[in-house]
Every structure is written in C-alpha cells, then in structure tokens.
C-alpha cells in the first residue's frame, strides 16, 4: 500500500546526477564511442517499396580500396519460421532476421539489403553504391484499407489472420484480429437519444529522437561479443542479437551508452546485429551509424491507421454504448500496437455496452515500432472527437460530460479487468477548475478544446544493487537506460528509504554483465519498476545495516529501529547511530554491505490525463497556432516533479506535432518524400507557448510511494484536444491527421 506521509527526498527537485556531464558535452552517447582500429559500417538500403531480390553481387564493393568486409542476409544463420519470445514481445524469428537484412524480398523503401565495413564512413558509403542488386519490382500496398482488400498484393505468402489463437485458411495482409466486448451494444445504442459515428484517418509518424541509431561491435578472439550502443534496453538488445545471430547470451555483453531519445523507437534492433556481423567478418571493431534519412526510412515509425468510432448517449449526457473499429498499419511485418489502442480507447469512461474490433495489417512501409503510448493516440483521436461532438450536440460542457461518464475505481474496462484506484475524475476536476479553462474564450477564429487520455503502464522486471560506501553514500547499480532523468528518480527512492540526501546516491547504469536482468526503459515503467527495485534494495541495505547496529550494541536485531536516517535501540539501551556514521563502521561489524532488490510488479497503475488547448486559426491559410496549452495528469506520486513536468510537456508537444504537421508523405511508388527534419516538420520552440503541466497525485496502490508511470499518457489527448479546439474556432470537424494547413483549407472549402 502506498504510504501516506511526508517525504524528505521524494517530491524535491535535486540537480540530476548525470546533469553536469550532459551540459558540458562530456556524456558519452553511442556515436561518441571511439576505439583503436575502428572500422566504419554503412548499410545499403532498398530503393523499392516491394520487390523480390533476384541477386546480390558484392564483388565490386569488396574490391574497393579501404573496404574490409561486406555482409548480406547470407551471412545470417538460417532463420527458422518460429516465434521467439523476446524481452520486447513475441516475434517471429524469420521476420526479425529479414528486417535486419532482407533475404528473399524487400518490403519497404529503405529495407536493409547489405552492409559494408571500411576504413572511413565515406568509403563505406561509396562502396555501398558498388553493390549490384537485381530486383523484380512488385506493386506496393501503402494504405491499411487497401491492404485489407481481398485482391491486395500480398507481402507474405504464408501470413494468415489469427484471432485469439485460431488461424484462418487463406493468406492475407491482416495478421490478426482482436475483439473486446462488454454488455449488449445493440441494446445500448437503442437506449441512446443521440448517436454519433465518424471515420478517422491518421498518418505515419516517427518518434523523432534527435540521436540516430548507432552501434559499435567487437568480437574478441575468444568469441566474446561486445556491443556499445544507444538503446532503451541493453538486455533486450542482448536477447535480440542472440536470437538473430544464434549466439549464446552468455557470450554477448551489451554496454548501454547514453541515449539521445527513444520514445519506444530504440527497443527493436536494426544495425546492432549488422555491426556484429561486420565485426565478425573483419575481425575488427566496427561502428555503424545511421543518418537521418536511414532513421526515417529504415526504423520503425508508429502506424498510420483507420479508426471508426460510434457512440450513443441519452439526452442528459449518459453514454449508453460505444463501438470502435481499429485498423492499424503494422508496416512490413506483423505487430502494430492495435492491442493497446483497443485497450485504451474508451478507458476514460464507464460504459456498460462496448464492442471493439482491432486489426493488425501489414503494408509496404517500415515495420512499425512503439512510440509513446503506442496505439492509444490513434484511438483517442477518434473517441475523444466523438465525445466532444456528443457534448456539443447535447449542449453539455465537454469536461462535464467526461465527469458524468468518467471511469472510477471498481468500473469495468471494455477489455474486461476492473479498474483499481485511478485518477481520471481528479484530472477532469483539476482541469475544470484551472484558470485556463475558466478564462474567457471568445475571439473570432480562436477556439478551445479539451480531451482526455489513458495509458495502462507496465511493470516488468528490474534489478538494483546498492553498495554502501564508508562515507555514508551509496553506489546504486541499475540496468535502466536513462532517457529523461531516471537515474535521479530511482536514486531518490533509495535515498528516501535510507534517510540520506539524493546527492548521497551515485547511480550508475551498467552493462548486461554487471546488473541483474532489467527490462526496457519503456511502457512508462522505469521510475515505477526500477524505482521499486531500488526501494527493495534500500530495504535490504536497511535490514543489513540494522543487523550491524545490533552487533555494535550487542542486542538482538529486533531491538534496532530505523527512522529519519538514524538507527536507534528500542530495548532500554540509549544507543543511537546515524546511517552515515554506521557506514564508517562496516569493516569492524562484518565487512561490506551490499543490498539488492529485484521486482516484477503487476500493479503498474494506469495513468489519466486531460488537456486543454486554445488555438487561433488563420482562415486564409489554414494554419493553426497554439495559443495556450494546459496538461493535467495523474502522476500517482511525483518523485522529481521537474522531470514529471518535463515528461508531460514533451509528450504534449509531440502530440501537437502529430496533430498539426507530422506525417510520412509517400509517392505512389512507396518512397517517403520528406525523410528529413526539414520536411518532416517537428515543432520548433517558435511554434509553441509555454506548456502548463499540472500534476495531480492519486497514489498508485501498487507502488510503495504511489508512483504511476508518467511518460506516455501525455501524448494521448493532444490530437483530439486540438481538433476540438479547431472546431470551436471555425466550426469544422477535422477527422484526418495531421490537420495541416492544406487539409484545413480543403475542409473550409477554400480550395
């Protein structure tokens, strides 16, 4: 149970532990890694979106001066058509390998085909142009609804639709169908006074991390493979590389360097196995870096989707039924996040009658990867727009209708489970009382919109070791790569337990040989689960230190009590010693103290957010300006409020980009025409106001301090909130993302 108490460290805002290295340019990211004798690798990518590989001739490249080795799919072990259960989920091994280096077919423009190691990156790049690949070009399928049609070109001849374990007879681009059902939707719609049904389309968008993927690999003479890289999870890199190369996990060490953003996009491996293959072939360490176009075209974006939402309500605003159809583009191989989309779409509401159908569909685009609350934003754009329309038609305040139907503890989610203690209502009430929401909003072409969002969060495995130092500090060893200040949020939880300042903890993120298994930094789990492991490790230290105090005082361990950083004796003896002083006496009381904590918690506790946005629409150009933005979110308990705010602000702004301008633009042949930061238009600081992040704290019963994951849910509401604000401004419902100026002009009938 969450403790209801005053904290000394939790809730404060110390300087992050890795801060100085990061503001002085000393922190070493993956691409910064240097090593004597390093070769540079470069990947040749397919110019076609869909083609059969007839032949690959690498001889001219191999003969080019400076080239030390060339690899293709031939260099990978034969991939079995079997499912491997990896840290990032179940994956068909053949699909996984084919996405690293295509064997028989290329399935998207940018699909890796071969790779070169050379003495300089420029030579490697030049040599790639000397690899002769003969293709039989096939027609591509680039859109989810087209891919679902019976006569659509097939990406995989052996792929058949599965529905909860049952496979269909005929091959299809539809990899799977899922369904959730609650109550009797037909009856629910019959009870409604008003029913709104709309179609929504969202484009392919990228996580847009600023640091491209990178990997340096080296094989020692004894067969030990070491990979230095930027990743969200060193252990999942180890597992994926082991499966792809059919190499024992015990012979692979992954060293996580600092990581320049991930947002879900740095879980799947791309060039890490390639670097390893090149290292093996050349006998030298090989560094492979992607450029920005490689990142857009060769790594997983998040799916484009087609979403249909139907909701019914009585005239006093009670939602009686809801129906959703979600078709998500998986990209070249199955695995779109339609499951999470289906799980989250109606989660802010308590609705008795619900049916949700979800489809995972392959198309000739890069295999999609997670991106911040994967699947939920696509779904919420639809549902939160429809709720807004119902509120408007019934003349009910949009926050009021959400409060009226808001999900509470004990309500059943559409996918079945019952909500534990959640903060949905609290975020709505906070938003409603916020000065932003109560401020006047009347100017011409200005509009205000609101939307809510849900993300379930995950737990998974984490390990932490604590070594106690004689000066009263501790070294905290963890395996969660730090993307946004989690060294500190984890360290602070250990500090709280031990009654020491945050600054007395030295957190280190270490390699896979040096800490227990730790799952990815993803699913908003790090502060929750690795923080939980740190709490457990600190408890272990506390127990062991109590034993030392007992030894010192010659009393039973039961007679030692610990509070506010002081051990005291509760058995008559007037003994007292601070944590710090006791640290200096470990040698004489039995030697070093090492604490450890491992967890695999199930009670991650879902997070809710409600956003309020004001926009101005230029009616002549269709351009939308964000005037004011307020994001309210339940954090359970904010360990380091500054970095919680940062997550909320960053997620909201990624949502703003998704809402207004970000999308992969394809030509008919399946080439992305805007694969650069110039034309893939992420928000700059000039496009934004300050983002008011408001933290609500409804403690999560599944964490000792009440923590809920905070990273993902803030990207869920923005698209619908902005669409609703645009409607408020100009009276037009936008149902396609992004809501770019040309689409607004069209919707307004100006072009």
């Amino acid at each position: 149970m969450a403790e209801k108490k005053e904290y000394k460290v939790i809730g404060t805002r110390p300087i992050r532990h890795d801060g100085v290295d990061k503001v002085t340019g000393r922190a070493l990211y993956g691409a910064d890694f240097q090593m004597t004798g390093l070769l540079h690798g470069r990947v040749l990518r397919s110019p076609h979106a869909h083609a059969r590989i007839i032949s690959i001739d690498t001889s001219r490249a191999e003969a080019y001066p400076g080239v030390k080795g060339v690899v293709t799919a031939q260099d990978l072990p034969e991939a079995e058509d079997r499912v491997a259960d990896l840290g990032e989920g179940a994956v068909n091994l053949k699909y996984l390998c084919d996405n690293i280096l295509a064997s028989d077919k290329v399935l998207y423009k940018g699909h890796a085909v071969a790779a070169v190691a050379a003495t300089s990156p420029h030579i490697a790049e030049e040599a790639c142009t000397l690899i002769d690949v003969e293709y039989e070009v096939l027609p591509p399928v680039l859109e989810v609804r087209q891919a679902m049609e019976a006569d659509a070109p097939l990406l995989h001849e052996s792929l058949k639709t599965t529905s909860m374990g049952e496979a269909a007879d005929e091959p299809s681009n539809v990899a799977s169908h899922i369904q959730h059902k609650l109550g009797d939707p037909e009856k629910g719609f019959a009870e409604a006074d008003i029913v709104v049904e709309r179609d929504f389309v969202t484009g392919t968008v990228h996580q847009g991390y600023i640091e491209p993927h990178n990997a340096t690999a080296h094989f020692n003479q004894d067969g030990q493979l070491t990979i230095w890289c930027s990743t969200q999870g060193a252990f999942t890199v180890r597992e994926q590389v082991a499966e792809i190369l059919q190499y024992p996990i015990s012979k692979i060490k992954v060293v996580p360097m600092e990581i320049g953003g991930g947002f879900g996009g740095k879980i799947s491996v791309y060039i890490k196995p390639v670097a390893a293959l090149l290292a093996k072939k050349t006998g030298k360490p090989v560094k492979v870096l992607m450029n920005r176009a490689d990142v857009f075209e060769g790594t997983g974006p998040t799916p484009a989707s087609y979403v249909r939402v139907k909701m019914g309500a009585t005239k006093d605003g009670k939602i009686t039924a809801a129906e959703a159809y979600l078709a998500f583009e998986a990209g070249a191989y199955p695995g779109a996040p339609v499951g999470p989309g289906a799980m989250c779409i109606f989660a802010p509401y308590s609705i008795e009658n619900v049916v949700i159908d979800g489809y995972d569909v392959v198309v000739n685009k890069p295999k999609t990867a997670p991106y911040r609350a994967p699947g939920a934003p696509n779904a919420a754009f639809g549902s939160e727009s429809v709720v807004d329309e119902i509120a408007e038609k019934l003349d009910i305040d949009p926050l009021e209708i959400r409060l009226l139907n808001g999900a509470k503890e004990g309500d059943r989610r559409a996918d079945g489970p019952i909500h534990p203690r959640i903060g949905c209502i609290e975020t709505l009430e906070t938003a409603k009382a916020h000065p932003h929401y109560t401020a006047p909003n009347g100017k011409k072409h200005h509009g205000r919109g609101v939307a809510s969002g849900y993300w379930f969060n995950i737990g998974l495995e984490s390990s932490v070791t604590i070594n106690v130092n004689s000066d009263g500090t501790i070294n905290l060893i963890e395996g969660s790569t730090d993307i946004g200040g989690t060294r500190s949020s984890i360290a602070m939880q250990a500090a709280e337990v031990l009654g020491i300042p945050a600054e007395s903890v030295n957190p280190s993120v270490v390699d896979t040989n040096s800490v227990g298994y730790t799952a990815v930094t993803g699913g908003s789990r790090t502060t929750y689960a690795t923080g939980y492991a740190a709490y457990e490790a600190a408890q272990d230290v506390k127990r062991k230190m109590s034993a030392r105090a007992a030894k010192l005082w010659e009393v039973d361990e039961d007679n030692v009590q610990f509070a506010d950083g002081e051990f005291s004796c509760i058995n008559g003896k007037e003994e007292q010693i601070s944590f710090r002083d006791l640290c200096a006496r470990l040698g004489e009381t039995g030697g070093p103290v090492v604490g450890s904590g491992t967890v695999n918690p199930g009670g991650a506790g879902g997070a809710y957010a409600t956003h309020v946005v004001d926009v101005a629409v230029d009616e002549e150009t269709g351009k939308v300006e964000i005037l004011r933005y307020t994001a309210v979110q339940d954090a359970g308990k904010a360990i380091h409020p500054s970095y919680v705010e940062g997550q909320i602000q960053g997620g909201a702004v990624q949502g703003i980009g998704w809402a207004l301008n970000e999308e992969y633009i394809y030509d008919d042949e399946g080439t992305m025409t805007n694969a650069s930061f110039l034309d893939y238009r992420m928000p700059t600081c000039l496009d934004l106001p300050m983002i008011d992040a408001v933290i609500v704290e409804v403690p999560n019963p599944g964490h000792p301090y009440g923590v809920r994951g905070v990273g993902e849910v803030p990207i869920v509401p923005p698209m619908a909130a902005i669409a609703n604000a645009i409607y408020d401004a100009i009276g037009v419902r936008m149902t396609e993302l992004p809501m770019s100026p040309d689409r607004l002009l069209k919707a307004m009938g100006k072009i």
């Binding site: 990896l86 990032e88 989920g89 959730h180 879900g264 999470p340 079945g416 489970p417 995950i458």
Partner: protein, 93 residues
C-alpha cells in the same frame, strides 16, 4: 471458485457463455478444468506448457507473468486477453 472471462472470439467453445466458474488453485489447474469442460479450448490458449505468444493472462485486473504456476484465489477473476504487442509488454522472464 475462480471465474474465467472468456474472450468474445472464443465464446463459441462455451456456447456463448462469457463467465465460467471453475475450481482450481493455479492457472494450470483452471485451464485444465476449462479444457475438460470445453474440449479444444486449451489448444487455442496454450502451446506445450505455456501460453501462446500473443495471449496474456490478467488475474484480478493485473497482468501476470504468464506463468502457469501463478496461484489464484477462490474469488479470482481471470481474463485471457490479446498480449500487448508492439514492444511494451509481453514479458518473457
């Protein structure tokens, strides 16, 4: 006795029945009892001695590690749901 909530796409095994109450102290026992009442259903959920990839178990609303050894209370509610793919969940350890 624990209650198993049958997913909509599998209710043809149970004649449309959504909630099935069955004896069992572990996930394994519950599944075995489900199979003896509705033959064929286990094959849809399991592969050898583990859950099929793509399917997850929730006990009382919490995602479990998918282990058949997981204990269930007498009043537990068990859901079989599509595993959350896309890199965010589906544990393996």
């Amino acid at each position: 006795m624990p209650t198993v909530v049958i997913p909509p796409l599998m209710r043809k095994f149970t004649g449309g029945e959504e909630n099935i109450t069955l004896p069992g102290a572990t996930v394994r026992e519950v599944i075995d009892n489900l199979e003896s009442r509705y033959p064929g259903i286990k094959e849809r959920l399991c592969e050898e001695d583990r859950l099929k990839p793509g399917i997850a178990i929730y006990i009382n609303g919490l995602l479990t590690r998918g282990s058949f050894l997981e204990r269930v209370d007498t009043d537990a509610e068990i859901h079989f749901l599509p595993a959350i793919g896309g890199g965010v969940a589906e544990p393996s350890h």
